[in-house]
């Protein structure tokens, strides 16, 4: 017995991920126990029931379409945020005078609680997808601008001078000197931009929604249906984790050339 216990302890100490799984399992067990015996089922349902009725969530009329719509909003907002952020970041970062003038303004705007103007976005863009996309863009664009500016700033002037003296065109300088240099920070910016876009789109969805997931979270909350609510939130959290992981992978992949 004693040696067996010793063996278990040794495996756990060597494999941190196993212990991590154990912690997660313990949390789920705690949740299961709490939901089964201690909390009113109107407010919390056990994870076993949530998982078992996941298919019921997805077969609820409109939920697949809502998830699709939210994913679409996230994708459009992310592409726009990165494109706009890249253009503005380059415009601000490449000229010292422009950078000194406008970078503080960008940082100031970045630090503002944008959620205070969420009602304005609804007034301007309506309660459909446009307002979610717009709110996602304004959340995601600032980290992209900031990191692009930082990335361009790290560029050694001698490289620019060298390329120019060898007769490189503007496009060639951008393609072969500026771009490779800002790739690592650009992907870091894309990762931060992704969390910004997620935050913005979900905030706008939760504020008011007629067809997106915000509509269904409100519906399930008002119906006191925690099983479906937890299932939907779980699906969205999984989506967020996957999107973040994709961007993180891309970042790790494209930052490689420096270390090679």
């Amino acid at each position: 017995m004693a040696s067996k216990r010793h063996f278990t302890v040794r495996i756990l100490t060597r494999r941190a991920w196993l212990a991590r799984l154990f912690v997660i399992a313990a949390l789920f067990a705690l949740w299961e126990i709490a939901a089964r015996w201690f909390v009113d089922p109107l407010f919390l349902s056990p994870p076993s029931q949530v998982v078992a009725s996941l298919d019921k969530v997805f077969s609820t009329r409109g939920v697949p379409a809502a998830l699709q719509l939210t994913l679409f909003e996230l994708a459009v907002a992310f592409v726009l945020a990165v494109a706009i952020g890249l253009v503005l970041g380059l415009a601000i970062g490449l000229q010292p005078l422009v950078r000194r003038s406008f970078f503080p303004i960008v940082l100031l705007l970045y630090g503002m609680p944008q959620v205070t103007i969420l009602p304005l976005f609804i007034l301007f863009f309506g309660i459909g997808a446009a307002s979610k996309i717009a709110f996602g863009v304004t959340h995601g664009v600032f980290p992209v601008i900031v990191t692009v500016v930082a990335g361009v700033q790290n560029l050694k002037p001698i490289l620019l001078t060298g390329a120019r003296s060898m007769g490189a065109s503007r496009w060639q300088i951008f393609r072969h000197v500026v771009f490779p240099h800002m790739v690592p920070s650009f992907f870091a910016g894309m990762r931060l931009g992704m969390s910004g876009v997620l935050l913005g789109v979900l905030l706008a969805e939760l504020y008011v929604s007629i067809a997106g997931i915000g509509y269904f979270t409100t519906l399930f909350t008002q119906n006191f249906d925690p099983t479906k609510l937890l299932g939907l939130i779980g699906a969205l959290a999984a989506m967020a984790i996957v999107l973040n992981a994709v961007v993180r992978r891309a970042e790790a992949h494209f930052a490689q050339w420096r270390t090679e």
Binding site: A16, R20, P96, L97, T116, P119, S195, P226, A240
Partner: protein
């Protein structure tokens, strides 16, 4: 030569200040013209003069006090909870390299989920009152604090610890004179991030679902189509948020110097 360079730098700084001022003035002028001359709907863009009048009225009448108290009260409780929980748990986990390996990736993974997703759940549990905002604010700001506390205490150079021990430092002395000074810059950054996110998530959750507070006031005015007053409140809230964040950043910088 040096004087020339300095003069040029001063001129550059002056030029960028002028551009900044010009940009902001231009923004207000465009806003004014759009609202008065170009016929942008008053419901979308109120006259900046009306916004200014409303702001003065809000400040003079003191009608903001109740909402401000609600929001700041929620913020204080949420931040206190996340600081107490984050520092304690972070310190305990940081005492063992093994626990760090177990918990750090876990917290980092949860941190990457937009926790605002769980607001409907918190509302279901705690109702529309302050409790759901406190719960959300505390659980969002817990993560930067605990992650930075682990990073701060967990990565103190072992050489320092061994040296202090061999010179006969007690547990308390080790903590007070070695661990704390080495960890505090990282922890202070975590506390600042935690504060900023707590503030943001509390105003955000008030905007989404609540009965009182500054975020609720803004939504209420927007729904009543009182745009000038709503803009005035937006300006007011942004000013408060920027001030609070500046104060916290200053405290962070001061704490790091000591």
């Amino acid at each position: 030569m040096a004087g020339d360079a300095a003069a040029r730098r001063d001129r550059g700084a002056l030029a960028s200040r002028l551009i900044q001022a010009g940009f902001l003035v231009g923004l207000v002028v465009v806003w004014y013209l759009a609202a008065t001359r170009w016929g942008v709907n008053r419901l979308l863009l109120p006259n900046p003069v009306a916004v200014y009048d409303n702001l003065l009225d809000i400040l003079r009448s003191g009608e903001f006090i109740d909402d401000l108290e609600t929001t700041l009260g929620e913020l204080a409780i949420a931040f206190a909870i996340s600081v107490a929980g984050g520092l304690t748990l972070g310190y305990l986990i940081s005492r063992s390299a093994y626990w760090i390996k177990v918990f750090e990736p876990l917290f980092a993974a949860i941190y990457s989920i937009p926790i605002i997703l769980f607001l409907p759940l918190f509302v279901l549990f705690f109702g529309l009152g302050p409790a759901s905002k406190i719960a959300l604010g505390a659980s969002i700001s817990f993560f930067p604090i605990v992650i930075n506390t682990i990073a701060g205490f967990g990565h103190v150079d072992p050489l320092f610890v061994t040296a202090a021990r061999s010179m006969g430092a007690s547990d308390y002395h080790l903590f007070r004179h070695v661990l704390l000074p080495a960890a505090s810059p990282v922890i202070l950054t975590g506390l600042r991030m935690g504060f900023t996110t707590a503030l943001l998530s509390i105003i955000g959750s008030e905007t989404l679902a609540s009965l009182a507070g500054l975020g609720h006031r803004i939504v209420h005015l927007a729904e009543a189509m009182e745009m000038a007053r709503m803009f005035a409140y937006v300006v007011f809230v942004i000013a408060i948020a920027v001030t609070l964040n500046a104060v916290v950043s200053a405290l962070e910088a001061r704490g790091k110097r000591n």
